[in-house]
Point group: C2
Chain length 206, copies 2
DNA sequence: CTAAATATGTGAAAATATTCACATTTCTTA
DNA sequence: TAAGAAATGTGAATATTTTCACATATTTAG
């Protein structure tokens, strides 16, 4: 077991962990590196090499024990325990995410929503607490929110991101059509741009 | 100018193209590899190396001409012209995407929606034509739909994907919580798993 | 119990990708 | 118009990542 995990390996281990959860739900108990590789488009060599960062694993039927392996991955990547999340921007995408059920059973609890439109804040139909955007810093700080999901117009993205960071948020999943920059270290920002995703699919077809 | 573009370069060029569009909207006319790198978290060396797949570029104010550069990238990656898209699964996420405005101005026209619930098909409020899921193959084929965005429950994902592929779809952007496999070559599937995205942010914080 | 079959785990080799260094080009200004 | 400043473009060097090959471990079957 080595210590510093390379970024591509972290990325694949996250994916594999999700896959293992899905397999577990289907009742599977063990799986080989070859099959895991086929399901996730990773070569079996790379699967095994990635797992070499995890310590001893080989357990069941000559294959990997799915539950055990997933536990080890999540412990190693420090993905255990529940994190608090807020959603900023409650338009169509934002409010869909605000009510996305699967987060809770996977370690993410959505506890706050924000929007700059007072009218929308007052009329939105949801079980989550929703507040006007000018309260972001205060409320995020008060509840020690860990992550934010951003779905605001491009023009507002940078400013909102800064307020979230001021409030203490450590990671931002950014659906807004604007690249966010931060000077602060220790903040992770992941951009999801739907047009870009389609472009990438299209480019890979060549 | 070399010929086969490596995958990481394709990925970055897509990102850069989107960034250039945003800069253009802000009125910027030219930009250097260094600034482009800062905005997109790519080293200036890599930016320039990536551009070496594009041919001659250097034009304006000793920097890259934003419009010209973007045109070259999109031509090289064959991202020109409009593609037709359908959305399958019109729950919260699906209907948000169905009505996402930014696709149209960026080369993607959403022309069809599908859902397995007849009731939802009949009551949904949208300008896009919406049909029951059993009509997927026929309608996708008839309109020569290029891409599909999938936002169905995990249990339905694989079957729906197969029907889309049978209908002639060449790429699938998959928001469902299930990995889709296809035996067919020439089909590109891009998975977006929201839990996975948060996991990845979290793991990178370590 | 032993041999055959099948998987893992990992150092070494190969393949890829990134960074560097610097010659070349473009622009500015005096 | 010539020299200085600043950016590109790219072969070579470096670093990273993936693949391979095989020793080791586990399971099954006779």
């Amino acid at each position: 077991m080595k210590s510093k995990i390379p970024r591509p390996t972290v990325c694949r281990l996250c994916m594999v962990s999700r896959l293992l959860e899905k397999l577990h739900l289907q009742g599977r108990e063990s799986i080989s590196s070859t099959e895991l590789g086929k399901l996730s488009d990773i070569s079996p060599y790379t699967v095994r090499k990635d797992f070499s960062f995890l310590g001893d694993l080989k357990v069941l039927n000559r294959c990997y024990d799915i539950v055990f392996l997933n536990n080890i991955i999540r412990r190693r990547l420090q993905l255990e325990g529940e994190k608090l999340v807020c959603v900023v921007g409650l338009g169509r995408i934002g409010s869909a995410i605000l009510n996305y059920d699967s987060f809770l059973s996977h370690g993410y609890k959505i506890v706050l929503g924000f929007d700059s439109s007072i009218n929308r804040v007052e009329t939105i139909k949801t079980d989550i607490s929703v507040y006007p955007a000018y309260e972001i810093e205060e409320r995020v700080h008060f509840l020690s929110i860990d992550f934010a999901i951003l779905a605001v117009p491009a023009s507002a993205a940078q400013e909102v991101a800064q307020r979230l960071i001021n409030g203490g948020v450590k990671g931002i999943l950014n659906f807004s059509q604007s690249i966010i920059k931060t000077e602060v270290d220790g903040i992770v920002i992941q951009n999801i741009d739907l047009v870009n995703e389609l472009d990438f699919i299209r480019a890979r077809l060549n």
